[in-house]
């Protein structure tokens, strides 16, 4: 980052520095709700072909930025690239989400797992990062990301999505040592993966702990938080103003905000089941906060969207001593395919206009 960014609001907000208005990006901002995304996907033939072709991944990464004045790009990729590179065989069935051909079902399966080589098995991701950075030409920062060790383990053990997490919870209760070995190799892989994305040009890093919230408190601390903390502590990411900020996002992480804020991360992403006011009070400036509009707000009218944006912005300030600094606006979860792009435009505009200092 020798050339300063034209728009560095996100980086400044993650350092809790003053900005002219609150930065905003949206989880799954590159996605099926955009007709141009659906067109690229149709050309690619499949989701996975699109994710694995750097030119196409770059194309869809940039699509929302051409429509909306977003303050960041986020790498278009899948959350499950790491286990795929470990040899589990990621595939997609339409309408059913991701699946693995060879899920992890035994201690021997865990023993066979290793940290994939980042510039061979995951080269397509690094090539996409490099290409996107070039195309962005230092306009806005690029966010790289990974699934969390626990969330990756959920998919790896269940073999896909799950309603009840029967297999991984049985493993957790019956053979916690094996699950810890799995989480440990996942953590090594996540650290290597985020480091490689950073080396390739990612300027912010986010870990998605989508499924941490399905655990009881004791189990969350032992099987998710412990490994998130290891990532926050061990991931080399520079110092001072040039430090690459790490954001830990977790659905259902509200009970653990104090502990997450003490992990060493720079930003904490929260869902809408906690107010930003409470989140800010409980973390008292130790980290930046990202969130937390209920994505379903986008199904409402533009007027209601504007009102809810203002409530979220003001909630953060109320818990942050009246200051809007240290807030990255986002949803509490990702955009859905049936959302109206015009409503996304309303949201982005409302964030900037209501938060102008």
């Amino acid at each position: 980052m020798s050339i300063p960014l034209k728009n560095d609001r996100l980086l400044r907000a993650l350092r809790r520095e003053p900005v002219d208005c609150t930065p905003v990006w949206l989880m799954r901002q590159a996605g099926r709700y955009l007709p141009e995304y659906r067109a690229t996907r149709a050309r690619a033939g499949s989701f996975l072909a699109m994710a694995k072709t750097p030119e196409l991944a770059c194309e869809v990464t940039l699509q929302p930025l051409a429509r909306f004045p977003l303050d960041a790009a986020i790498l278009f990729s899948d959350i499950l690239t790491i286990p795929d590179a470990m040899g589990l065989g990621l595939y997609f069935v339409d309408g059913e989400g991701p699946k693995f051909e060879r899920p992890v079902r035994s201690a021997a399966d865990v023993d066979r797992l290793g940290v994939p080589d980042m510039e061979t098995g995951l080269r397509y991701v690094m090539d996409a990062v490099r290409l996107i950075r070039r195309e962005l030409a230092d306009t806005v920062p690029l966010i790289g990301f990974s699934g969390s060790p626990w969330t990756l383990a959920c998919y790896m053990v269940e073999g896909g999505g799950s309603d009840n997490f029967a297999r991984i919870k049985a493993l957790l209760l019956d053979d916690p040592a094996t699950l810890h070995r799995l989480l440990s190799v996942n953590t090594d892989a996540v650290i290597a993966y985020l480091s490689a994305q950073r080396a390739a040009g990612a300027q912010v890093l986010q870990v998605f702990d989508t499924w941490g919230g399905v655990l009881s408190p004791a189990m969350y601390r032992e099987f998710s938080l412990r490994y998130l903390t290891r990532i926050a502590r061990e991931l080399e990411r520079g110092d001072g103003a040039s430090r690459t900020p790490l954001i830990l996002f977790g659905k259902g992480n509200a009970p653990y905000l104090e502990e997450l804020a003490a992990s060493g991360c720079e930003g904490l992403g929260v869902d809408w089941t906690v107010t930003l006011e409470e989140a800010a009070r409980r973390t008292h400036g130790a980290v930046a906060l990202q969130g937390n509009l209920d994505p379903a707000t986008l199904y409402a009218t533009p007027d209601a969207i504007g009102r809810q944006v203002r409530i979220a912005l003001d909630s953060f300030a109320a818990g942050n001593g009246g200051s809007r600094d240290g807030h990255v606006f986002n949803l509490g979860h990702g955009l859905s395919p049936d959302m109206n792009p015009d409503h996304v435009a309303v949201l982005v505009e409302a964030v900037h206009s209501h938060s102008t200092r």
Copy 2:
């Protein structure tokens, strides 16, 4: 209740009185995981025929009690009987859950709704309650139940289950007055329904607020908690030792335990995302607590189930000044069809043996 119950542990625990061991019942204890339930359902032809035929509802209600030394029966019925009786046309598609033929889609639809007559449109429920009470012959108490006003409204507006609650959240944001009218008629209906179940013989009443946890805090308070509190305050249920206890169960209700405990209910059902120790500390004896083992624990081995039962029992006592009184053991959510009945037996036995005073 002129004749004392042979086993009144549940009633005593809900009054926070001493018991010989902690009572246990399980949400969805009468259900598809039992082969005898599947046999009855096959004979009935459909889930709804079974729920609407008092003799069959009675039969399946009693099935788990023949297998396990449970401390209560719970009426076998559906959560959506009220909107069905309001004329929405409940039906089931295999593998897809409940649906309504005529969902609530406009203010005019809400205007047409009224509190159904309990001894005509819902007579089959009251007949089932009367029949079950007769068959139980005062062995264990019978729990009656209803969906919460908010949870009923979710199904009524969405027309069935939902991943994202797009329609009801849009209604909430765009036309809160109409949603409040819907919640108000639902609340009147729930109160009438629980009163009628009590008159027919139900000795404990539970409200299932399955979907309260999908709301942000401000919206939970306005659209769910407010109506739960109205039920707890307005539902006539006697006084002193003969008072019929009301349990408010809610998935994701952990942030609101203090407010729920102040609602006037006798028991609070919690899921596994909060420890019973914390729940007991935060409610400091104002209510009995029910819960909260993660149902997925039943996928683990008997040894692990026993350990987790002990942890939950001890967690409650740790937050309750060392006493186990005032605890009703349950899962944090319902049993699933793929669970092993032998593991349920292990769970019930473990609760009683580990909690013997």
